[in-house]
C-alpha cells in the first residue's frame, strides 16, 4: 500500500503487519502483537500527556485567568515544568503511614490510573484511528469510569486517616449520585444512532451534531462529567479548608503524582467524550476522506471543551454538599429523565410527520427549558415564602420576649 499523507494510521498499521508476517509470524499472532503494541503506546502517550503536558497547560491557563505568569523557568515558556515535577516526585520518600492497610493503600492509585486510561480504549481519534470499536462503548465508558470511584474509596479507607475517609465518603456520595443523570442522558445519543458504539455515534453525526438536536442532554452530560471529575465548582472532595486534601491526604511522592496525573487526564477524557458524543468527534469538512484532518478536528473540539471546563473551574465558587446533592437529585435527574422522554417522542414525531428533524428537536428542547425555568420559579417562590413566614414568626417571638 502506498503512503498516503492524509491517512498515516492505516499505513503504519499495514506496514507493521506486513513486516511481522514477513518475519514468518502467523497473521493472528501478528495482529495480537500489534494490538498489544498499540495498547502500550496509547497508554504511555496518555499518561505522559496527562502527567507532563496537561499539568503545564493547566497551570499556564490558571495563571492567565488569575493574572499571574505561571511556570516560566524550566525550558521555553516553562514547558518542561512537568518533567521537572515528575523527576522530583520520583525522588521523594515514599511514606506509608504506620496505621495504613498497605496492600489496599498501594493498590488504590493503580486502580484510579487504570480506570482513567482505560476509557480511552473506545475514544475514536480519527476515522481510522480508534483503540477498539466496542459495540457497547458507552456502557464500557461508564463501567470503567466507576472503577475510579472504587479506587478513591480504597485510598480513603486504607489511609486510616479521618480526613481522608471523610473526603472519600463525600466523593462516593457525589460520584454515585452524578452517575445517574449521566447514564440516563447517554440514552439520547444511543437513540439517535441505534448503537452504543462511540465510533458509530460519531459517524451518525455526519450531517448534524447531536448538540444541536439535544442541547439539554449535552449540557447535562458536561455538568455531570465535571462533577465526576471532581473539579470546581464540584471539588468539595478535596475541600482544603475542611478536609486538608481529601482522600489523598496521606499520599506522597509519585503515588500522589498518579492521582494528580489521572485527574488531569480525566479532565482531557471528559472533554474528548463530550467532543465525540455531542460535538461530532472527528466530523468536519473533508474528514471522511482525510483521517489526519479528522484527528485535527477532534483535537480542536476537545481543546475547546477543555478550555471551557478550565474557565468554569476558575470562575465558580465551590458548592456545599447538600446543594450538590440537591442539584443532582432534585434538578438534574428529573431533567435528564424528561429530556430522554421528550427526545424519544420528538424523534418519532419528526419521522412520522416529515417535519424538519432539527426544528422539532429545537422546539422540544426550548419547551423543556421553559418548563424547567417555570418549575424552578415556582419552587423558589415557595421556598422564599416559607423563609419569610419563618422570619416573621421569629421576629414576633423576639418582640413578645422583649415585652
Amino acid at each position: 500500500m502506498d503512503f498516503n499523507f492524509w491517512d498515516p494510521f492505516t499505513w503504519i498499521g499495514e506496514w507493521l503487519l506486513n513486516l511481522l508476517v514477513g518475519w514468518g509470524l502467523a497473521e493472528t499472532i501478528a495482529l495480537t502483537l500489534l494490538r498489544f503494541a498499540g495498547a502500550v503506546v496509547l497508554a504511555l502517550v496518555l499518561l505522559l500527556i496527562g502527567g507532563v503536558l496537561f499539568t503545564w497547560l493547566d497551570r499556564k491557563l490558571s495563571a492567565r485567568i488569575q493574572d499571574r505568569l505561571g511556570p516560566n523557568r524550566v525550558g521555553p515558556f516553562g514547558l518542561f515544568q512537568g518533567i521537572a515535577d515528575t523527576l522530583k516526585l520520583l525522588t521523594k520518600e515514599d511514606i506509608i503511614p504506620a496505621g495504613a492497610d498497605k496492600i489496599v493503600f498501594n493498590l488504590a492509585p493503580l486502580l484510579v490510573t487504570m480506570s482513567v486510561v482505560g476509557i480511552w480504549a473506545v475514544v475514536p481519534f480519527a476515522p481510522t484511528l480508534i483503540g477498539t470499536d466496542l459495540n457497547v462503548g458507552l456502557l464500557y465508558i461508564i463501567s470503567v469510569g466507576s472503577i475510579g470511584t472504587l479506587g478513591i474509596m480504597m485510598a480513603g479507607w486504607a489511609s486510616n486517616n479521618k480526613f481522608a475517609l471523610l473526603g472519600a465518603f463525600r466523593t462516593v456520595a457525589q460520584m454515585v449520585a452524578y452517575e445517574v443523570p449521566m447514564v440516563v442522558v447517554l440514552l439520547v445519543p444511543t437513540m439517535f444512532t441505534g448503537s452504543m458504539s462511540v465510533h458509530a455515534i460519531v459517524e451518525g453525526q455526519s450531517s448534524l451534531w447531536y448538540v444541536a438536536l439535544a442541547p439539554v442532554a449535552a449540557l447535562i452530560f458536561l455538568t455531570t462529567s465535571i462533577a465526576e471529575l471532581g473539579r470546581a465548582p464540584f471539588d468539595l472532595l478535596e475541600a482544603e479548608s475542611e478536609l486538608v486534601a481529601g482522600f489523598n491526604t496521606e499520599y506522597t511522592g509519585i503515588k500522589w503524582g498518579m492521582f494528580f496525573a489521572s485527574e488531569f487526564l480525566h479532565g482531557l477524557t471528559i472533554s474528548a467524550l463530550t467532543a465525540a458524543i455531542f460535538l461530532g468527534g472527528w466530523q468536519g469538512p473533508g474528514a471522511e476522506a482525510r483521517p489526519l484532518l479528522g484527528f485535527v478536528y477532534f483535537m480542536i473540539k476537545t481543546m475547546v471543551v477543555y478550555f471551557g471546563v478550565t474557565l468554569l473551574r476558575f470562575s465558580m465558587p465551590r458548592v456545599r454538599i447538600d446543594q450538590l446533592l440537591d442539584l443532582n437529585w432534585k434538578f438534574l435527574t428529573p431533567l435528564a429523565l424528561a429530556a430522554v422522554c421528550v427526545t424519544a417522542v420528538a424523534e418519532k414525531l419528526a419521522l412520522a410527520t416529515n417535519w424538519s428533524r432539527l426544528g422539532v428537536h429545537i422546539i422540544a428542547n426550548v419547551g423543556l427549558l421553559i418548563l424547567t425555568l417555570g418549575a424552578l420559579w415556582v419552587r423558589a417562590r415557595m421556598v422564599r415564602r416559607r423563609f419569610e413566614t419563618e422570619q416573621m414568626r421569629l421576629a414576633a417571638r423576639s418582640e413578645s420576649a422583649a415585652d
Binding site: P97, Y140, G253
Partner: protein, 118 residues
C-alpha cells in the same frame, strides 16, 4: 467481537502496570528513612487520636439505594434505546411510561425526605 476485546484485555493491564512501574521506580529512587513521627497519621499537627476505622453514620445509604434503582433502570433502557429506530410509536411510548413510573418513585422518595442531606 472476540478481537475487539483482546485490545481491552491488553489495554487495562498496561494502564495498571504503567502506574505500577512508576511507583516502583519512585520506591527505588527515593530515600527511605522511616521514623515513628514521620509515619504517624496526619491530623493537623496534633497527636492522632484513635483510628479512622470506626463506625460512621453514612448519610447517603438511601441515596445509594436510589442510585441502584436508577442504574438498573438505565440498564433496562439501553436495549430500548438501541432498538429505537425499529420501534413503533406505541413501543416508544411504553418506554416513556416506564421512565415516568420511575420518576414517580423518585418524587415519592423526595416527598418522604429521603433526598435531604443532614
Amino acid at each position: 467481537m472476540h478481537d475487539q476485546w483482546t485490545f481491552i484485555a491488553f489495554f487495562l493491564p498496561v494502564g495498571f502496570l504503567a502506574a505500577a512501574v512508576a511507583i516502583i521506580a519512585g520506591r527505588l529512587l527515593g530515600p527511605r528513612k522511616p521514623n515513628p513521627i514521620k509515619q504517624s497519621t496526619y491530623e493537623c499537627g496534633i497527636e492522632t487520636v484513635g483510628e479512622a476505622w470506626v463506625q460512621f453514620r453514612i448519610q447517603y445509604y438511601i441515596f445509594a439505594l436510589i442510585f441502584v434503582i436508577f442504574d438498573v433502570e438505565a440498564v433496562f433502557l439501553f436495549p430500548w434505546a438501541v432498538a429505537y429506530n425499529k420501534l413503533q410509536l406505541y413501543m416508544v411510548l411504553e418506554g416513556v411510561l416506564f421512565i415516568l413510573i420511575l420518576a414517580v418513585g423518585l418524587f415519592y422518595a423526595w416527598r418522604k425526605g429521603a433526598l435531604e442531606w443532614s
